[in-house]
Subunit: 254 residues, 8 copies
Amino acid sequence: MDNKHEILQLLRSVASGDTSPEQALLEFKQSPFEDLGYAKVDFHRNIRQGAAEVLYGAGKTPEQIIGIASAMGERGCRNILITRMEADAARQVADALPLEYHPSPRLGIAFPGPRTSLGNIVVATGGTSDMPVAEEAALTAEAMGNQVTRLYDVGVAGLHRLLSRLDVLMSARCVVAVAGMEGALASVVGGLVDCPVIAVPTSVGYGASFGGLSALLSMLNSCASGTSVVNIDNGFGAGYLASMINQMEGLEES
Amino acid sequence: MDNKHEILQLLRSVASGDTSPEQALLEFKQSPFEDLGYAKVDFHRNIRQGAAEVLYGAGKTPEQIIGIASAMGERGCRNILITRMEADAARQVADALPLEYHPSPRLGIAFPGPRTSLGNIVVATGGTSDMPVAEEAALTAEAMGNQVTRLYDVGVAGLHRLLSRLDVLMSARCVVAVAGMEGALASVVGGLVDCPVIAVPTSVGYGASFGGLSALLSMLNSCASGTSVVNIDNGFGAGYLASMINQMEGLEES
Amino acid sequence: MDNKHEILQLLRSVASGDTSPEQALLEFKQSPFEDLGYAKVDFHRNIRQGAAEVLYGAGKTPEQIIGIASAMGERGCRNILITRMEADAARQVADALPLEYHPSPRLGIAFPGPRTSLGNIVVATGGTSDMPVAEEAALTAEAMGNQVTRLYDVGVAGLHRLLSRLDVLMSARCVVAVAGMEGALASVVGGLVDCPVIAVPTSVGYGASFGGLSALLSMLNSCASGTSVVNIDNGFGAGYLASMINQMEGLEES
Amino acid sequence: MDNKHEILQLLRSVASGDTSPEQALLEFKQSPFEDLGYAKVDFHRNIRQGAAEVLYGAGKTPEQIIGIASAMGERGCRNILITRMEADAARQVADALPLEYHPSPRLGIAFPGPRTSLGNIVVATGGTSDMPVAEEAALTAEAMGNQVTRLYDVGVAGLHRLLSRLDVLMSARCVVAVAGMEGALASVVGGLVDCPVIAVPTSVGYGASFGGLSALLSMLNSCASGTSVVNIDNGFGAGYLASMINQMEGLEES
Amino acid sequence: MDNKHEILQLLRSVASGDTSPEQALLEFKQSPFEDLGYAKVDFHRNIRQGAAEVLYGAGKTPEQIIGIASAMGERGCRNILITRMEADAARQVADALPLEYHPSPRLGIAFPGPRTSLGNIVVATGGTSDMPVAEEAALTAEAMGNQVTRLYDVGVAGLHRLLSRLDVLMSARCVVAVAGMEGALASVVGGLVDCPVIAVPTSVGYGASFGGLSALLSMLNSCASGTSVVNIDNGFGAGYLASMINQMEGLEES
Amino acid sequence: MDNKHEILQLLRSVASGDTSPEQALLEFKQSPFEDLGYAKVDFHRNIRQGAAEVLYGAGKTPEQIIGIASAMGERGCRNILITRMEADAARQVADALPLEYHPSPRLGIAFPGPRTSLGNIVVATGGTSDMPVAEEAALTAEAMGNQVTRLYDVGVAGLHRLLSRLDVLMSARCVVAVAGMEGALASVVGGLVDCPVIAVPTSVGYGASFGGLSALLSMLNSCASGTSVVNIDNGFGAGYLASMINQMEGLEES
Amino acid sequence: MDNKHEILQLLRSVASGDTSPEQALLEFKQSPFEDLGYAKVDFHRNIRQGAAEVLYGAGKTPEQIIGIASAMGERGCRNILITRMEADAARQVADALPLEYHPSPRLGIAFPGPRTSLGNIVVATGGTSDMPVAEEAALTAEAMGNQVTRLYDVGVAGLHRLLSRLDVLMSARCVVAVAGMEGALASVVGGLVDCPVIAVPTSVGYGASFGGLSALLSMLNSCASGTSVVNIDNGFGAGYLASMINQMEGLEES
Amino acid sequence: MDNKHEILQLLRSVASGDTSPEQALLEFKQSPFEDLGYAKVDFHRNIRQGAAEVLYGAGKTPEQIIGIASAMGERGCRNILITRMEADAARQVADALPLEYHPSPRLGIAFPGPRTSLGNIVVATGGTSDMPVAEEAALTAEAMGNQVTRLYDVGVAGLHRLLSRLDVLMSARCVVAVAGMEGALASVVGGLVDCPVIAVPTSVGYGASFGGLSALLSMLNSCASGTSVVNIDNGFGAGYLASMINQMEGLEES
């Protein structure tokens, strides 16, 4: 029961009444993770969530990262995302296993393998300094098999820069809008496109930006429909969700 | 240029270089709204955003609501959502035009017409008192042509209530998780399903819930991937976004 | 020493050394206000600040308002602004002295007289519900002798509504941008025009708008140069400052 | 009057009326502490509170720690907890007196001696990075004579990890739930067990976790009965209280 | 499997390996609640949590309260706590079923029956205005079978009032300290007794008490060991937890 | 269309109806910026905003600064302001192009050229430690061709220092009031002068100044008319706006 | 031991070693209050604090107020302050005992008797709407036997009003500065006088005054030495403290 | 007019009408400070405020400190307090002029001279880590000629430590209560003594102490009359105010 197809079959037999939910839960829970002592590696996540493997690097030693990523690699995982890994740790990890590392968003991709390049996700930023967070979103989405178009430095204080790229924006299946300071980019983009917009407030700014709080509140209060928000600086979360949306299957009956 | 097909054709000719973006912008902007004095009714929104018409009732007089909705109805709009409309106002509006009114979420649907019932959106709540916000989400999604399954009062302090409905949750194309107080529902649901989860914090609670702030922060910090957040009590926004996601077209050609 | 000319002469003689600052201060302070017991009516303010008379109505009884305004009127003041005066109080005041009253911004103009209509101030709002604050700004500016152009309901979630009035915006000598929720209007306008922009956050909104805090922070963090902010809902302050800027004298030597 | 038995006898004679409360207070207060100049060592605390000795290391020099701990050790104290002591200080202290040091929670145990291992306290964490705080709780409880079971990395975003250890949880006399980010662990655990749950928010997280505030508010708003909260990162306080509860005497004799 | 004994037997057989945790979970989940449409009445809670039934009255109509309480009463529940029920609702409920109602804490006890009066819980308040919250705690604890001693109006600004009742405080098995404003009562009590102290901040106060935030922060920062905190005004939660602690079984048999 | 005159002519032809706004927008948008990859250099800003060129140094590498400033310099720009540039970066930039650098406000002026010294802007500070922010404002205004008078260390706790310079204050066309701590300077100055006052809160202070929040709130709540506020420490924004106001053309011709 | 003299004698004998502190404490605690059931009337407070009797009216019923005040009156207390008593309650109280009532500060003085009028306390306000809080301070101080001079409506936005009363200010032994909004009055006054200044922030204001928080922070950050702050709207506390300071005995004998 | 006597004479002649306030103001303002360019040294402060000279060291270079202190010393000032001066700066200053330096509160006393030791100020702290702030208060008061008694480490979690020093507390003319964390010391002390209590919140603590905010709010909400608060960590301000109060002249002659 190691791929999404099998699990879907099981759930459909639940839906049809052939299997009880309790029975399904039991099958689900057999051997779902490997216990490394310092972490429980969850091999079922990609079954339950249909996604690439992710390893949160923050607060883990290089040794722990190597241990977990290796266990994943041995099970055949490819394109394993390692978030918030500092350059020093990356060097150690790269000695132990194949690693593609991006220093600005501090993102690693272990056991890189072939990827698809599906659909179209646009990642837009208000300014140049929002780029590290935007890159975390863009690289995450690319590692999960999506085509990504970058629209950087198109903040609303120079609206013509955004408007001159209207065609790019309007062709997106999903937009990730990354901005600090007043966070107005999400509202403006949300009013222009007809696809879901994921807003990412960044901690870029000074004064009364309060570490991203200003942009966060601004984005939550966006008047544009179809907009939702992730945590401050959470480029990974935005990229992951954008991938989910971009890769939605069509409605058979529609 | 009054339906989505035409506008897509135009944008594809932009993509192919046959039309410049500036030219497209100009075509776009011809006669986009009707000026009623107190409001600019935007008939192009459903072109640009592919969505049902929405009329924000908050802060508008019954007369203004009637004026705007009538103008929309005359242009052929059906299932026009009117948000945050008090019961008194609804009575006046119902005298002037066909209206379906839901008092708990204070939501009206003017000029109700036939709707599709596509896909599957699950709306779940932590408690009974989150129901008005959840109904705003569910009714919005239904008015926009989606099939909605309600899972109310499945908060995490009684986890077995949620687990016994696991089959319903796992069959969703999109989940709207509505909760006040500690807002843990979004995290738990987000860890169980493999589809986008839209978290809606509610202002339900007392003490240190601070009008929904506690649930909002909790949901923003959710460790579960694929989760994003809308504003406190913004059931409409969640239902609208859930509809967008549920009705995504498949990726056939890419 | 009752008009601005005299006071300027005095100050120039200070600048030239003919009068010491201390001497000027003394002249300044002779008979500057009338003590009504419950308030000190300041007849020198229009000397020192070159502005119409203003009477803050909040927290004053109708009797106090009548007393103060009458004292001003007897000294020859015209177009006396009375801010935040409820309709009930206005009725009482209107019985005692000539009054022009605007219920939505709760603004009165006592002893209305002839006014000029100088320059060009644009007052723009994001939505319909920002209108009361905007009207406080616009009526204040008009009472102080300025020409005002209103651009209401041009919020950034429907950008084409704003862009279609670009000519109006760009002809302004000063813009007052009034918006609640995410407050993005100030940034967008600030990037489009080359005159000072005064941003007024409004307490309109719900959820995480926190009574205008979201719009306030957003506006303070605006990336657009030339933008400054007044207090939440302070339409009067914005109109007053806009008048000051609009009526600046040219630089003799430039 | 140096052990708990004597003090209980005294208080019972108060309850029976043989001794007045004032008299008891006087007996209580004779020679309760030793004045070292920079600190007042309180030898009565373990009488009044029935607990192991604790020495708050934060803001004390190694010399001060050695002085206080030595004074305690000379009075016969064993298993003296020293909280928040940096590794450098620990090295100096270890040169002067017998010390067991745990670097991750920065916790020392001076004059380690034999301990009991009573009852059953479960310490659970949401993630790997909550471990230092959890270890402070667990080691505190162990030093005070309790049996502790650790359940680490069982956060609610992977609910099956928690459910698969349900037997461990349900056998606890008291649970310490340690979590950062959205802090949902306390609610979920609180709904599953029928013993007191002590929630410890941690400052782990980023973005809108605001140094533990998000987890703190979430835990305070927990819908589960039987849950209370200690300060952010206060593993010591949680372990101390858990020990108090675990070692409650039965009601039979009261 | 309807009483605590049976469930304990089951869990012991889990502990001994005779039953798997998964099997236990399944047995657990059979028929755990009755679905009334608007609420899921949870008859297993008292199995899982070993506590009296509780019905959160806030946000429920009198009809819903009657429906849920009647269903409980028919299953034999007695002393059902109904929290935050307004006097009007109480009158309607009292017409439909036996009800004991306390207006100041807005607490009802449906189907009142015989209770034990075990152990000793002290409920102390800083001032007279903290009494409603304190009564919610005291009545909750009494309904759950505990003996409660009230110490009201013993705030720290008149320390002698507290000290003169030291004997009462020191005989408690658990203290609930209820205080608004600066919340210092919890710290002072926590330093005097050697049993768990549950601190309840109240929203009593004005100015910079910010609806209980001041007392909440103060209590969280208490320097006294053995103290934990529940939500602002959460008298019920404190009484419930105090009952759990007071009724702990002794360790002899474990 | 490279200077302000041409653009004004265009807009007047819009006003007269000879050109449509849409047409004007198109002319506007031709070749407005140069794309350097990491930034879009905006050569139209000085057309639209009539101001000196500004380059936000924060978050840019010295190489990026050199690249952008050189592109500007080659187009003939002079007196290019570079904000928030650290001393190290300044040294590298100074090796590549002509640069005047001010270390305390971390402000650079690239390609310095001749400037006018028009009108009169007064920059006042509450204390000595507000000087870096004040210098950012003063140097910005000077680089943009304004005459600036500095009034430093005239805080309200020593009122006579401010009053003894009343003549300087009252001769200003615009005052920039820079203060941290309680920020009272803006109110006092605003009550004394009859020109616009731009308040700049600074992050100077300790304790409950909360990084400038105290001064910010104080300034927003100023009772003096004609006062507006920019972001904490935003000396540049204040200087820029002061220049706009100081250089307003007179109304004679409008 | 019912007057201050006796207690001083006792404490001096403590100081001289003739009495132990413990003994003194015991004497202190004999019969210090009368228990009315709902309140503990504290007859020792005026011994320990040397002040007039005070009865906090907030949250007490008229019956409770009458009960407590009567008990005090019977013991010979005169000029008993009753704070925050609504007009309705005052009418009931006035029927039962001699009462002087001031509706604007909601302050009652029960059993009014002869008073001294010592020293000189100045109570100043920024605006007219700060008067209720100021009157609470002034009447409190007068009831406690002090001479009070009122300086109302002397806010810093019209500095000449304050300066023209400089002689009054400088003759004070203690100043109470009452202000809302930006709270600058305390700083300006603190810089002018050489006596203690007690700052009282008021909740007067709107927008970002946040219920007095802005004025509170401003006053805490005052740069003027000799200034301290009481809670928002706490006129009573300021008047009480001002009386203490005004009535300090001279240092002759020390 | 260089000492307090002369200025008092002047003011009395104002009070008697022999001199007008305006005239007094003029005399006041002649040569009040020396302009060093970077600072205005205010020689009149000790006239207006009757206090020792103070020099805020924060944000000043050693050279500036030497310059200002030397100018003061040359005018005959002795015991000049220099606050918040780092050890490095102190070493440089000590090379240039006579300096007594206290490293823990970072306080210097330049040109130390003979001092009186009047009255009795008690400085109390909750814990050992509050000592640096307490020492700033104590040394400030001593430098200004007051006798100071230190009561350190008497926090309320060990109430007997405080009660055993009750005699010291009750003999004070003014108490400075310094505490972090929950700040309860001020309330407890305020209820015990009958003299003014100045509360100083400290930034000592962790978790939800939020840099002193918890203690600040707690102290502002103190129920004890006669208590006021200064800024977080503002030991200097408390010592200064305590000196003012301690040295109040008696009322005999007024």
